[in-house]
C-alpha cells in the first residue's frame, strides 16, 4: 500500500502543488490536497500530515501566526501527539513554530532580502521522521525560497535543543562545514530544520519537494527524495 498523506492548503499557500507533485508523481504516494477548513474533519485518516510553503494569510502580523490559530491546527496538535509524522516546509515550518509544536522563532533574513537559491544541508540527526534513512553528516542539496527564515532561539533553549538532539539540519558549505557564508539567512548556529523531542514533528525552511528529481537540479541530484523516503520508513516501522 502506498503512503496516504494529507497536504493542508491555507489561504496563501503557494508551494502546495510542488509538494503534491513530488509525493504523487515521484514517490507514487496517495496524496489528498485539501483546503484547511475541510481538512480538520478528515485529518485522522492519514499516514502523515504536510503543511506546505507559501505565505498563509499574506504573512500578516508574522509569518505563520494566523494559520497557527486556525481550527485545523488544533487537530494537527492532537494527531502529532499520537506520533503521526507532521512535516512543515518553509511557511509550514513557520506555522509549526507559531503553533508551539516546535520551539523558537523564524524572523526576517539577516540579508533583509527574500532569498531563493540552492543550499547545502548537513544531516545532524537520523532519529527524525525526515532523516532516518540518511547517515549523520550526509550533505543534501536543497533550495531555499524565503524572506523570514532566520531561526532564532535564546541561549538556554538552544542548549536544550542541541542536548536533546533536535537539530535536524544545518546549512553548510561544499566541504560540509558550518560557515557564515554558507548560512543564507543568519540562522543561529546555521540551523535549517529542527524536530520535536519525539522526532515525528519536523520543520525545515528549504524545499525538499523542489529537489526530488534530477531534472530540476542544477547538480543532477535528487536529495529531496531522502526526505520523503525517510518519512515513509518512519511511518512503516512504527
Amino acid at each position: 500500500m502506498p503512503m496516504h498523506v494529507l497536504v493542508i492548503q491555507f489561504s496563501g499557500s503557494t508551494c502546495d502543488r510542488d509538494l503534491v507533485n513530488a509525493m504523487r508523481n515521484v514517490m507514487g504516494w496517495n496524496v489528498d490536497f485539501v483546503w484547511y477548513q475541510e481538512a480538520q474533519n478528515i485529518i485522522e485518516n492519514y499516514d502523515a500530515i504536510f503543511l506546505p510553503g507559501g505565505f498563509a494569510y499574506g504573512d500578516y502580523l508574522r509569518a505563520g501566526i494566523i494559520a497557527a490559530f486556525t481550527p485545523v491546527m488544533k487537530k494537527v496538535k492532537e494527531i502529532a501527539k499520537e506520533g503521526i509524522p507532521v512535516l512543515g516546509i518553509c511557511n509550514g515550518f513557520q506555522i509549526l513554530v507559531e503553533s508551539e509544536l516546535l520551539p523558537g522563532a523564524l524572523i526576517g533574513n539577516e540579508t533583509l532580502r527574500f532569498s531563493c537559491k540552492w543550499t547545502n544541508l548537513r544531516v545532524e540527526t537520523t532519529r527524525s521522521s525526515a532523516t532516518n534513512i540518511a547517515k549523520k553528516g550526509d550533505v543534501w542539496k536543497i533550495p531555499i525560497a524565503h524572506g523570514e527564515g532566520r531561526y532564532y532561539l535564546d541561549k538556554v533553549g538552544l542548549k536544550q535543543l542541541n542536548e536533546n538532539d533536535q537539530v535536524v539540519w544545518r546549512y553548510v558549505n561544499d566541504e560540509g562545514e558550518t560557515t557564515k557564508e554558507a548560512n543564507p539567512n543568519g540562522s543561529i548556529e546555521n540551523i535549517a530544520g529542527i524536530c520535536n523531542l519525539e522526532g515525528n514533528i519536523v520543520g525545515l525552511m528549504p524545499h525538499p519537494e523542489r529537489a526530488a528529481e534530477n531534472i530540476i537540479s542544477p547538480f543532477n541530484t535528487d536529495h529531496g527524495k531522502s526526505y520523503f523516503h525517510s518519512i515513509e520508513n518512519f511511518f512503516r516501522r512504527k
Binding site: 502580523l61 508574522r62 501566526i65 497557527a68 490559530f69 513554530v97 507559531e98 520551539p103 523558537g104 522563532a105 524572523i107 526576517g108 539577516e110 540579508t111 533583509l112 532564532y152 532561539l153 535564546d154 533553549g157 543568519g186
Partner: protein
C-alpha cells in the same frame, strides 16, 4: 463604555540582531549627516481602538490579547502596551 486607543509595540529582543534597524542607522541616518544617532531598533506598531471601563481595563484587555493570540513571539520579541487616550 468609553473608547481607548492602545499602541502595541513589538520589537526584537536586544540580543537578536536587527539588520533593518542597523541598515536604517548606517545607510540612511549616519550617511546623511545624523552621526549623533547611536542605535536604531525597528519594530511593528498596532494601533488598537477598543472599548473598556477605564485605562487599567483597556491595558488588561490588551495584555491578555497579546499573550493569548501570540501577537508577539516571546522567544524573539518584546511587546509593550501604551494606552495613549
Amino acid at each position: 463604555m468609553p473608547e481607548f486607543l492602545a499602541e502595541i509595540i513589538i520589537e526584537g529582543k536586544k540580543n537578536a540582531r536587527d539588520p533593518e534597524g542597523e541598515t536604517i542607522m548606517r545607510d540612511l541616518m549616519i550617511k546623511h549627516g545624523y552621526d549623533m544617532v547611536d542605535s536604531v531598533r525597528s519594530g511593528k506598531i498596532l494601533k488598537v481602538k477598543l472599548e473598556a471601563k477605564d485605562d487599567k481595563d483597556a491595558e488588561d484587555i490588551c495584555f491578555n490579547m497579546v499573550n493569548e493570540l501570540r501577537i508577539y513571539n516571546p522567544v524573539a520579541h518584546v511587546c509593550t502596551i501604551k494606552i495613549v487616550k
